[in-house]
């Protein structure tokens, strides 16, 4: 098998060009899916027989929560790749993804709080999954804080990769310890192995939202990575040429 494409992905210049091609697709697919999913979920999906209309926040809560968790996993994969193959691009990915992941974690917590008020009667409970999400937010903050504290680019890259990996080893431990400690939250809505308990008219818009959020996340990520590339490669010839061309037009 030809691996050139993989090596090309590791080069900032190539990635910059490839990202430019993919970006509009992700962005527009994301926006279309998010709008469709929101309208479908918020206006047309049937109300829950127990929670009534308030359950509709699920269409924001579940996608953001899924993304918040998988974003950290993506960072962990990037960290391994970065530590093993020393690719510049992986660190740009981590730098770009951490704030987005933190924002999505915050959104998941916030929508959870808004949902908790009508269903549990309180904004916040020290339930296992809420606490685990809060700790995930702290892990994101840790990565961001470490990156901004270390001025040396190479040092920041390797330090944050190690920290992300230490965090990812800890995530299951944190998850299970808070689960045994306290549980009130309902079990996961989607699992890969079982049929969802909801009727299709309820979970289909949710699925659309999840895919939409992933597309939107990818678009945001590509934008941020492209910015990182320009920032860090600003002394290279191709970026200089790019800027000169931009200045001309």
């Amino acid at each position: 098998m030809n691996w050139t494409f993989f090596h090309k992905l590791g080069s900032p210049k190539w990635f910059y060009d490839i990202a430019e091609k993919f970006l509009p697709w992700f962005l527009w697919f994301g926006i279309v899916l998010l709008v469709t999913g929101s309208v479908w979920g918020l206006a047309f999906a049937p109300p829950d027989y127990q929670q009534g209309e308030s359950f509709r926040i699920i269409y924001l809560h579940v996608p953001t929560a899924i993304l918040a968790q998988s974003c950290y996993m993506m960072m962990a994969v990037a960290a391994v790749v970065g530590l093993v193959w020393r690719m510049k691009i992986t660190d740009m990915f981590i730098a770009a993804a951490a704030p987005i992941g933190a924002a999505f974690t915050f959104l998941a917590l916030f929508t959870g709080a808004v949902w908790g008020k009508p269903t549990w009667g309180t904004w916040w409970v020290w339930d296992a999954r809420l606490t685990a999400m809060l700790l995930l937010l702290f892990l994101y903050f840790g990565v961001m804080a470490l990156r901004s504290a270390l001025e040396d680019q190479d040092l920041a890259a390797r330090a944050s990769a190690i920290l992300v990996l230490v965090g990812v080893v800890n995530i299951p431990i944190i998850k299970y310890s808070v689960e045994w400690w306290n549980t009130l939250h309902q079990p996961a809505t989607f699992t890969l192995t079982e049929k969802p308990a909801m009727p299709p008219e309820m979970w289909l818009p949710l699925l659309v939202m999840v895919i939409g959020v992933y597309c939107f996340f990818s678009a945001l990520l590509l934008m941020r990575v492209r910015n990182e590339i320009l920032m860090r490669e600003r002394r290279t010839k191709w970026v200089q040429a790019l800027i000169a061309e931009e200045m001309k037009s």
Binding site: L83, L135, F138, L139, F141, G142, A145, L146, A149, L150, D152, D154, L155, R158, A159, I162, L163, L165, V166, G167, V169, N170, I173, I174, S177, V178, W181
Partner: protein, 245 residues
């Protein structure tokens, strides 16, 4: 001069037997050095302990001196204070060695860095964790914890504080090149130590409620085993990275 130096180095490389020290003597030398440095800076050893006591005293003063509340909160307060006091002491774990260049020599040493790091962790624990454990029964009595639960509390601290030291070592190694990594270390390490805190206080609570504590202790032991085996790898990687720049 440089020629003679190079030839000496070359000789050292080609006939390393008389220069190479075996693992035990290196580890013993390191232990002796670490303890000596710590003893020369007695105040730094005492500070976390005083901090530990003050934090615990804040709770009756700040929340309520009611014996019922104190008893319910005792396990958590002692554990949280121990956690914070350990965080406070982590700042200097590799800092001195980094500044005077000893850290580079440690990384360059022919012996496995994993064991050297573990030795540093051991010294750190025996100079902060162990004194905290010795102090904790007195504070537990002040917090109205019944005396039959005190051995359980000591046991959880004996298993739990090494885990905190080991995890903290990762944070200290990552931030060693910063002039003041203090708050940052806590920010990096505290979220990772939550499981130990949960099971540490959970064990004491189970003992107060009259429940069996074996399962809790087994999980804490598992965490210690995991931290002992894995965290020195992360610490070594972080140290190598910090030194190479």
């Amino acid at each position: 001069m440089s020629d003679s130096l190079i030839s000496t180095l070359d000789e050292g490389r080609s006939e390393p037997d008389h220069l190479r020290q075996d693992l035990w003597s290196v580890l013993k030398g390191m232990l002796a050095r670490e303890f000596l440095i710590a003893l020369r800076r007695r105040q730094e050893l005492v500070n976390p302990l005083v901090f530990f006591v003050i934090v615990i005293v804040l709770f009756p003063l700040g929340v309520s001196p009611d014996p019922g509340f104190l008893k319910a909160a005792s396990a958590g307060v002692v554990w949280v204070a121990a956690l914070l006091a350990t965080m406070l002491s982590l700042d200097r774990l590799f800092q001195g060695d980094y500044e005077d260049g000893a850290l580079e020599q440690t990384v360059l040493c022919a012996q496995p860095l994993y064991l050297l790091v573990l030795t540093k962790n051991l010294v750190h624990w025996s100079l902060t964790g162990l004194p905290l454990i010795v102090l904790s029964p007195f504070l537990a009595v002040m917090m109205n914890l019944e005396s039959e639960h005190i051995p359980v509390m000591i046991l959880t601290l004996v298993i739990g504080t090494p885990v905190i030291s080991l995890m903290g070592g990762i944070g200290a190694a990552l931030t060693v090149s910063l002039r003041s990594g203090g708050v940052l270390i806590s920010l990096l390490v505290l979220p990772l130590t939550i499981p130990v805190l949960i099971f540490g206080t959970g064990t004491i609570q189970a003992s107060i409620d009259g429940l069996p504590i074996g399962g809790h202790l087994a999980i804490m032991g598992a965490m210690l085993a995991l931290a002992l085996t894995l965290s020195p790898f992360a610490t070594s990687a972080a140290l190598k990275m910090s030194v190479s720049n």
